[in-house]
């Protein structure tokens, strides 16, 4: 409750909820004219008011946490019950069996579950994007001392000094695995053949690098910056330099949940959209967010480890400091949050590229089934979030390849380096 004032309005919390509740009902019926269905009947009340949402202790859980801390959930008639999770596999299983209603989750993980890669196959839903950018690839101090400070110099070192090189990511079908593989391959290193790639839980990355167990890792913040603070690693690249404004974590649930509780989903999305807007609004807000999520119950690290990169102040651990305009974003006028079909398909193309998928799926059909664009449009209307013109976007990645979602099968097959 102490954070209520962060919103800059000192309104009595209970009164506030009622006022907003009334406004929401009115807004809902106006919306109902355009969207039809249950809304037109006036039953926009969330079917399930208490929502259990899982998160992993990483900076990019911020909009979910802040929606709860700022009381934005109550504003939309729902209550977030946050659950700190220890592993992505745990998040996946708890979503599938209903222990969690929704979660802060890796984009690629949901597509992996949808396709039955690894575990149980289940129809999943991407409700919205939670953040763009803000992950990094770290190389160990030992390698940087030998000259490996970026992709090309790493490739040179690996050709010159041949031995087994170990790189870590956070989940086999997840985003970090895909950024790491893409970056290595763009530099002429085949992650499946020229290196050993392992899965390591994010909070263990820095400790493992300290004792010399790995040459590099790709993980979300604050762990990239933490490696620099601890003097064990250097930032070789940020993920926004691999793909500017790349999709990262999403708000996910099962397709069943999205179908059964559409009003609950809309309310949850609206609260998180507003929280993301709040975080992106000012440096003061970012600073306050860092203070909140550094706490034991969330990320459990020092505020210093979080706030530098959140504000776009980067250093690489080798003396270079820069202001990155493409730091982690939570809203960016809604561009962060729209569940672009082309983004979803991209993960499928990379799963195919690295042999996680043995055959080409119907890329478009899968993305259309997973990404809940209609639900997102309703939530965007509730929060006055702008919508893009098209559910597809065009992105140019670090190697110059353009991905626009138009020919996924050819794109997946086009890479020289693959599994």
């Amino acid at each position: 409750m102490e954070f209520k004032e962060l919103q800059g309005e000192k309104v009595d919390a209970t009164r506030r909820t009622i006022l907003h509740g009334a406004a929401l009902v009115a807004g809902g019926s106006v919306l109902g004219l355009s969207t039809g269905g249950a809304w037109a009947a006036g039953s926009d009340k969330p079917e399930k008011e208490e929502i259990r949402i899982g998160f992993i202790p990483l900076t990019d859980c911020a909009s979910v946490v802040m929606a709860s801390v700022l009381g934005l959930d109550k504003k939309y008639g729902v209550k977030f019950v946050l659950s700190k999770e220890a592993s992505w596999a745990g998040v996946r299983d708890k979503l599938a069996n209903g222990d969690l209603d929704a979660a802060h989750v890796l984009y690629g993980l949901l597509y992996g579950v949808q396709m039955g890669v690894g575990g149980q196959k289940k129809d999943m839903a991407v409700l919205m994007g939670l953040n763009n950018n803000g992950q990094a690839i770290t190389l160990s101090k030992k390698r940087s001392d030998k000259g490996a400070v970026d992709g090309p110099s790493l490739a040179k070192l690996m050709r010159g000094e041949q031995r087994e090189y170990t790189f870590a990511q956070t989940f086999p079908t997840g985003t970090h695995a895909m950024w790491l593989y893409y970056w290595l391959a763009a530099n002429g290193i085949n992650p499946m053949k020229d290196a050993k790639v392992i899965t390591v839980p994010p909070p263990q990355m820095v400790a493992n690098m300290r004792v010399g167990n790995m040459d590099g890792f790709c993980v979300g913040e604050p762990w990239g910056h933490r490696a620099i603070m601890d003097g064990v690693g250097i930032t070789a690249t940020t993920t926004q330099d691999i793909w500017r404004d790349h999709p990262e974590k999403v708000l996910g649930c099962t397709l069943d949940f999205a179908k059964k509780y559409p009003n609950t989903c809309r309310a949850m999305m609206a609260a998180i959209l507003e929280a993301g807007k709040w975080i992106d609004a000012s440096l003061i807000n970012k600073n306050r967010m860092a203070e909140v999520i550094a706490d034991k119950s969330y990320v459990n690290t020092s505020k210093d480890a979080i706030d530098q990169r959140i504000m776009g102040r980067y250093q690489n651990g080798l003396g270079k400091t820069w202001d990155d305009p493409n730091y982690m974003k939570f809203y960016n006028d809604g561009a962060v949050n729209f569940p672009y079909l082309s983004d979803g398909m991209w993960f499928l193309t990379q799963h195919r590229r690295w042999g996680l998928l043995k055959e080409d799926p119907d890329y478009m059909a899968v993305a259309q089934s997973v990404n809940q664009i209609d639900l997102f449009k309703d939530a965007a209307a509730m929060t006055k979030t702008p919508l893009p013109k098209s559910p597809m976007r065009s992105s140019k990645l670090m190697d110059g390849t353009v991905w626009d979602g138009k020919n996924p099968k050819a794109y997946a097959a086009s890479f020289k380096i693959k599994a």
Partner: protein, 207 residues
């Protein structure tokens, strides 16, 4: 059923992480789990930390079953093993506080390598693990049979096509074509389907 070779994956606390409550709770649950398994008289061949060497250790030990606490961060490392060994799966059992038997049934029915078992009473562990292993083996057998049947069906198709080709080219009966194929297979010491495939390949090549 002979004694199961079991590997337990236990989260450990690294230096500097002593005051992380969730890690401490994980380590404590891991300890209770290990004691419970030992009390149930199970043959734990190794108790491994969830570190980067886990995949290698498991490949070396070849356990019948891997047991891990469902709330542990070791799960993601195990996930890596599951995907890396997709073609030779092995049951991974997870213990959770949840008493929900439906979850376990759903997991088993879906053919995942994870069985979620409720509770940790010593007298219940052994039968539960045995059931999990039996279910896993049965399911593996069905999967093997299915892939066997599929490949046999594919072989049959190749043989049929080769037979048809011989009948057309050499104006012989089906019986004669089959005998020719079998004769070639015996003299060249090849499987019938391999000889058939060669004939089809040559046909493709020469047109």
């Amino acid at each position: 059923m002979r004694n199961l070779r079991i590997v337990v994956v236990n989260p450990t606390i690294s230096p500097g992480e002593e005051d992380d409550e969730s890690l401490r709770a994980q380590a404590e649950r891991g300890r209770i789990l290990r004691i419970g398994l030992l009390e149930a008289g199970l043959d734990i061949v190794a108790s491994l930390p969830a570190d980067m060497y886990l995949p290698e250790h498991i490949a070396k030990l070849q356990p019948d079953m891997i047991i891990v606490d469902a709330e542990s961060d070791a799960r993601d490392v195990l996930e890596h093993i599951v995907i890396a060994t997709r073609d030779e799966r092995r049951p991974i059992v997870m213990f959770t506080e949840s008493e929900d038997t439906e979850t376990m049934e759903a997991a088993v029915a879906a053919g995942v390598s994870a069985y979620i078992v409720a509770g940790l009473q010593a007298e219940r562990i052994k039968p539960v693990l045995n059931v999990a292993l039996a279910r896993f083996r049965r399911e593996q057998k069905l999967l093997d049979e299915l892939s066997d049947t599929k490949s046999k069906l594919a072989e049959r198709k190749v043989i049929e096509r080769a037979k048809g080709l011989l009948m057309e080219r050499q104006h012989c009966s089906e019986e004669q074509a089959y005998r020719k194929l079998r004769g070639m297979a015996m003299s060249k010491n090849l499987k019938l389907s391999e000889v058939a495939q060669r004939i089809l390949d040559v046909e493709d090549y020469l047109g």
